[in-house]
C-alpha cells in the first residue's frame, strides 16, 4: 500500500532486507478488521496490566482473578445469545427480563419440591418459550426485533411479578451454593459452564451449515433467501437460543444470590449489548465473533473489579466504564 511511499530511502532498503515480515505486520495492523477483532484483547490485557501495576497484591491475586471469573460467567452466557441476535442484524432487549422470568419459574418449581436441577430445566424451558415467541413473531409477522423484544421485556418482567406475586423466594440448596462457590481447581464452575457454552456457540456459528445461514441472513437477507436459506427459521432459532440461555443463566443467578427475585436486573442487558459491540460484532449483522464478546465481558468485569479494588468512587466508575465502551467502539468502527 502506501508504506514504501512514506518511508525514506534508507529505511526502504532496510525493509527490503528485512524479509518483509515487518511490513507484513504493518499491513496487518493497518487492516481495520484486525483491530475490530483484537482491540478488545488488547484492552483487556491493558486493564489487567494497569490495575496489576497499581495494586499488585490485591488485584493480581488468585482470589481476585477468581472473583472476576465468577462475576463474568453469567453475563458471558447472556452475551452469547445477544451475539446470535446481533449477528442477524437484530437485537434482544428482553434478555434480562427473560432471566428474571426464568428465575421466578425456577423458584416456583423449587419451592414445590422439585430438585435443584429439575427446577433448572423448568427455568431454562421458561426462557426458551419466551425466546421462541420472540423469534416467531419477528419472523412471521415481520415486525422489527427492537419492538418485539422491547415488548417481551415488559411482558416477561410482568409475568415474573404475576407468578411470584412480587415476593422473592428463598432457595436454600447445598448443591446450588457449591455450584456458585466451588470450582475445578482455581477455575470456578460458573466460568467453566460459561466457557463450554461459548466454545459450543463458536462451533455452531462457524462450523455448521446452519451457522453459515445465520451469518448469511445477517449479511444480506435478500441474497440469503434467494440462495435458499430459510430466513424465518434462522430468526426463530437465534431468539430461541437467546431466550434459552437467559433462562439457564437464571439458575446460575439464583445460585449466587440464594433467592429467586422478580426484580429485573437491567444492567445485564446494557452490559450484554456493550460487550457484543466491544467484541467486534457488527450491529448491522453478518459479521460475528463469539470469543470477542466473551473477552469483552471479561474486560467489563475486570474494569469494574479493578476500579473497586483501587477504591475509585462509585460515580467515577460509571464514567470510566462508559468511556471505555465508547472509546473501544470508536476504535473498532469499520466501514
Amino acid at each position: 500500500m502506501n508504506i514504501s511511499s512514506k518511508s525514506s530511502a534508507s529505511s526502504a532498503q532496510a525493509e527490503e532486507a528485512d524479509t518483509s515480515s515487518l511490513s507484513k505486520l504493518r499491513l496487518v495492523t493497518k487492516d481495520p478488521f484486525f483491530w475490530s477483532n483484537w482491540i478488545v484483547v488488547v484492552a483487556f490485557v491493558l486493564v489487567v496490566v494497569v490495575f496489576g501495576a497499581i495494586k499488585p497484591h490485591n488485584f493480581l491475586t488468585m482470589y481476585n482473578l477468581n472473583n472476576i471469573l465468577v462475576a463474568s460467567a453469567i453475563p458471558a452466557i447472556i452475551v452469547v445469545g445477544q451475539t446470535f441476535a446481533v449477528t442477524t442484524a437484530g437485537i434482544d432487549l428482553s434478555v434480562s427480563s427473560i432471566m428474571t422470568f426464568g428465575a421466578v419459574c425456577y423458584g416456583i418449581a423449587f419451592t414445590n419440591g422439585w430438585s435443584w436441577w429439575s427446577s433448572g430445566i423448568v427455568g431454562t424451558l421458561a426462557g426458551a418459550v419466551c425466546g421462541v415467541i420472540n423469534g416467531f413473531i419477528i419472523a412471521k409477522r415481520k415486525i422489527s426485533d427492537f419492538i418485539v423484544t422491547l415488548g417481551m421485556l415488559s411482558v416477561a418482567s410482568g409475568f415474573a411479578l404475576v407468578f411470584s406475586n412480587g415476593q422473592p423466594r428463598q432457595i436454600v440448596s447445598n448443591q446450588l451454593s457449591t455450584l456458585a462457590i466451588g470450582g475445578f481447581g482455581k477455575i470456578p464452575y460458573l466460568m467453566v459452564i460459561a466457557f463450554v457454552i461459548t466454545v459450543g456457540a463458536h462451533f455452531f456459528l462457524f462450523n455448521t451449515r446452519f451457522g453459515t445461514h445465520i451469518l448469511a441472513t445477517g449479511g444480506d437477507p435478500d441474497a440469503a433467501r434467494s440462495m435458499g436459506v430459510n430466513i424465518d427459521l434462522v430468526k426463530i432459532v437465534v431468539y430461541s437460543i437467546s431466550g434459552t440461555l437467559a433462562g439457564f443463566a437464571a439458575m446460575l443467578t439464583i445460585s449466587r444470590i440464594g433467592a429467586a427475585e422478580p426484580a429485573a436486573n437491567t444492567s445485564i442487558l446494557l452490559n450484554s449489548v456493550a460487550a457484543v459491540v466491544l467484541g467486534g460484532v457488527s450491529l448491522f449483522g453478518g459479521r460475528g465473533t463469539i470469543f470477542g464478546p466473551f473477552v469483552a465481558t471479561l474486560l467489563l468485569q475486570a474494569l469494574t473489579n479493578g476500579l473497586t479494588v483501587v477504591g475509585v468512587a462509585a460515580y467515577y466508575q460509571y464514567v470510566s466504564i462508559g468511556l471505555v465502551v465508547i472509546l473501544s467502539a470508536a476504535m473498532v468502527r469499520t466501514k
Binding site: 482470589y63 436454600v172 456458585a180 437491567t266 473497586t308
Partner: protein
C-alpha cells in the same frame, strides 16, 4: 435477662477501656490498633438515591473525624443485586479490618459475607438486615446490626396523621417494591399507628416518584373522599404531592426517610410531613462500631437508630443542620467505646 448480660459486658468493657486510659502506660496501649492504621470497607446500596448518599456521608465524615480510612463502594443501581455482590467479592479478599454492608435484597450478599467471616473479619450490617438463614448457610456472621425499626417509624407517621385528620377517615397507601420487607414494615406500622382509619391500597409504586404520581392520580379518581396519603418513602411522597396539587385538593401527604428534597417541600407546604430516618447516623454508627471492633473491643449486637416526625413545626432546624442528626438527640452505644 439477655439484655442485662449484654449491658454487663458493655459496662465491663467501658470500665476496662477507662482503666486502660487511666493506666496510660505505653505497653498496655500498644495492644490497641492505632486509629490511623484502621481500614474499613463499606458496600452500600445504589448511590442514585439521596438516602444512601447520606449513609455514605455519615461513613466518610466519621472516618475523617476519627482519622481512619474508609473505602465506600455502591451497587451500580438500586436493583443490581449481582453487581453489588461482585463489589463485595472484590473487597472481601483484601486486608480491611472491618466491613459495613447494606444488602439490596436480604440474600444477595450472603456468599460474599461468608468469605469475609472466613477471613476472620467483623461485619457491621446497617439499614436493611441480611437474612439470617442464608447467611448461616454461607458461613457468614454479622457482628452488629444498626438500623431503624421501620414498623415503629410507620407507626409514628400513622399516629401523627390521625392527630391531624381525626379518626374514621380514608387514607391512601403507596408502597415500594412489591414484597420488599422495609416497605411492608412501614405500611403495616402506619396502619397500626393510624388505627380507626380505613385504607385504600397499598399500591406498589416501586419507590419511584413518577409511578407514585400515577398511582395517586388513579386513587384520587376512584376515591374522591381520600383524607390523606402515606408513602413508604419520600420520593413517592413527592409524586403524590404533585397529584394532590393537580387535583386541586388540600390533604396531608406523609413520606418516610427525611431526604432534603422533601424537607424543602415540607417547608413550602406541598408535602405535610416525613418520618425522618437518620441514614447519616447509621453510617456514623457503622464506622464507630468497626473502629471499636478493630481495636479489639466488643459492641452490642443490635442497635435501633433514631426516627423523628419532621413537619412544619421543626422543619427549619432540620433544614439548617442538613437533617443529619435528629432534633431531639439520640442514643449512640458505639461512640463511647472508641479508644482515642
Amino acid at each position: 435477662m439477655k439484655k442485662n448480660t449484654r449491658f454487663l459486658t458493655l459496662s465491663i468493657s467501658v470500665v476496662a477501656a477507662g482503666a486502660l486510659v487511666l493506666a496510660g502506660t505505653t505497653p498496655s496501649n500498644a495492644a490497641v490498633k492505632k486509629l490511623t492504621t484502621i481500614r474499613i470497607a463499606a458496600v452500600v446500596k445504589g448511590l442514585d438515591n439521596p438516602y444512601f448518599i447520606s449513609v455514605k456521608a455519615g461513613i466518610v465524615d466519621t472516618a475523617k473525624k476519627l482519622g481512619v480510612t474508609a473505602n465506600v463502594q455502591a451497587a451500580p443501581g438500586l436493583n443490581d443485586d449481582i453487581g453489588q455482590a461482585n463489589k463485595l467479592d472484590a473487597l472481601a479478599g483484601q486486608n480491611y479490618d472491618c466491613y459495613i454492608v447494606i444488602p439490596i435484597s436480604s440474600n444477595n450478599l450472603s456468599q460474599g459475607l461468608g468469605k469475609v467471616t472466613k477471613a476472620g473479619k467483623p461485619i457491621i450490617n446497617i439499614d436493611s438486615p441480611v437474612d439470617p438463614a442464608s447467611l448461616k448457610a454461607a458461613g457468614g456472621k454479622i457482628t452488629s446490626f444498626a438500623g431503624t425499626d421501620n414498623t415503629a417509624a410507620g407507626k409514628a407517621g400513622g399516629a401523627s396523621m390521625i392527630k391531624l385528620i381525626g379518626t374514621g377517615k380514608k387514607i391512601g397507601l403507596i408502597a415500594g417494591l412489591a414484597g420488599n420487607v422495609t416497605s411492608n414494615a412501614r405500611i403495616d406500622g402506619f396502619k397500626a399507628g393510624a388505627a380507626g382509619a380505613t385504607f385504600v391500597g397499598p399500591v406498589n409504586a416501586d419507590w419511584d416518584t413518577t409511578k407514585a404520581l400515577d398511582a395517586a392520580n388513579q386513587m384520587l379518581v376512584a376515591n374522591p373522599d381520600l383524607a390523606g396519603f402515606f408513602a413508604a418513602n419520600d420520593q413517592m411522597a413527592q409524586g403524590i404531592a404533585k397529584a394532590v396539587a393537580a387535583a386541586g385538593k388540600k390533604i396531608p401527604v406523609y413520606g418516610v426517610d427525611g431526604i432534603m428534597d422533601n424537607l424543602n417541600l415540607i417547608k413550602a407546604g406541598s408535602v405535610t410531613a416525613s418520618v425522618s430516618q437518620y441514614p447519616y447516623v447509621m453510617g456514623k454508627m457503622g464506622v464507630e462500631a468497626c473502629v471499636v471492633l478493630a481495636q479489639g473491643g466488643k459492641v452490642p449486637a443490635w442497635t435501633v437508630t433514631p426516627h423523628a416526625v419532621i413537619d412544619s413545626s421543626n422543619v427549619d432546624s432540620a433544614l439548617k443542620t442538613g437533617n443529619q442528626l435528629p432534633p431531639a438527640g439520640y442514643n449512640d452505644p458505639y461512640a463511647a467505646l472508641i479508644k482515642k
